[in-house]
């Protein structure tokens, strides 16, 4: 875990991406300029905000699927383990 604020993280990521795209290190000064700009630019703030919302939506709403019974049956069989009652009755052809 880290004590860095989300903003600091975001800024560092922007600099990392810039470095990768430019193919060379972005100096501390240039990085600070970018950070200063982003903090005070409504468009950049909106951009970051919309990406954060995208992440939250996917993280929250991605369905968690139950493992199908036939998949459980094959897994336990592959592992040579007992098949619990709730999985029994499923054939490997299911």
């Amino acid at each position: 875990m880290t004590d860095k604020s989300p903003c600091t993280h975001t800024m560092e990521q922007i600099c990392d991406i810039l470095e990768f795209q430019l193919g060379h290190e972005v100096g501390r000064e240039a990085c600070q300029e970018v950070m200063d700009h982003v903090k005070n630019c409504p468009k950049c703030c909106a951009e970051i905000d919309s990406l954060k919302k995208t992440i939250r939506i996917f993280k929250q709403e991605m369905p968690s699927r139950e493992v199908p019974k036939d998949v459980q049956w094959r897994l336990l069989k592959e592992l040579h383990l007992d098949i619990p009652a709730h999985v029994k009755g499923i054939s490997s052809d299911a």
Binding site: D16, C44, A46, R74, L81
Partner: protein, 216 residues
């Protein structure tokens, strides 16, 4: 105040009980107790299966990840150092197995981002408004159809972008862990992650427009 303390104590007790149960299961599994192994599978199979689904993009791939993961779990259980939760360790193995299978599937795994310069069409204006879909992530629940669309949006990402997004934003691995798992630099992972997020945001915006009947 007392209630908060009581709740905290209760939570602590639950965590301790859970850890103790886990330790007991591990010890029994190491002695070859089949019932304990089955219980470990039942406790963790859903997380592994969902990770497999998200990374592989189909049920067959997810099943392969599931089987290979648990084969490895029981093969390596004696190496588990117990400095993390069993679920975290299993999750790490599952991510590794999925990445190995993706490599096998495609021959080549991560495509360097420089070969795919950022398509300007991916760049949505920041005016994207999730609220159009009533998608307040903290309050509203999406209907099943939209959930399926979100799932499809992730599956439709190229492998290297999907991997970065799933492992970081959905599964919570650190950039360093993803870089290590994928054999890429942290900067490359971050760049891929950003591209994935931008594409998914675009898809969300399209869904918002569709939901709105195409109205401006």
């Amino acid at each position: 105040m007392h209630e908060t303390t009581a709740e905290h104590d209760n939570e602590t007790r639950q965590v301790e009980e859970e850890l103790s149960r886990e330790q007991e299961l591990i010890a029994r599994a190491l002695e070859g107790d089949a019932a304990a192994k089955t219980q470990i599978v039942l406790d963790h199979q859903q997380n592994v299966y969902n990770l497999g689904l998200r990374l592989m993009g189909d049920e067959d791939g997810a099943e392969c990840v599931l089987q290979d993961t648990f084969l490895k779990v029981f093969e390596k259980l004696s190496d588990f150092r117990r400095d993390s939760k069993l679920g975290t360790w299993i999750h790490r193995i599952a991510a590794n197995e999925a990445l190995m299978q993706l490599r096998k599937k495609k021959g080549k795994y991560f495509i360097p981002i420089v070969e795919h310069p950022l398509d300007s069409s991916e760049e949505e204006p920041p005016g994207f408004v999730a609220e159009t879909l009533n998608l307040d992530p903290l309050e509203s629940a999406l209907n099943e159809e939209l959930r399926r669309e979100l799932e499809k949006a992730i599956y439709s990402l190229p492998m290297h972008l999907r991997t970065a997004f799933v492992l970081k934003d959905l599964e919570g691995l650190t950039m360093a862990e993803i870089a290590e798992e994928t054999g890429k630099s942290v900067s490359a992972v971050k760049a891929n992650l950003h591209r994935a997020r931008v594409r998914l945001r675009k898809r969300l915006a399209e869904l918002a427009i569709a939901d709105d009947g195409g109205a401006a």
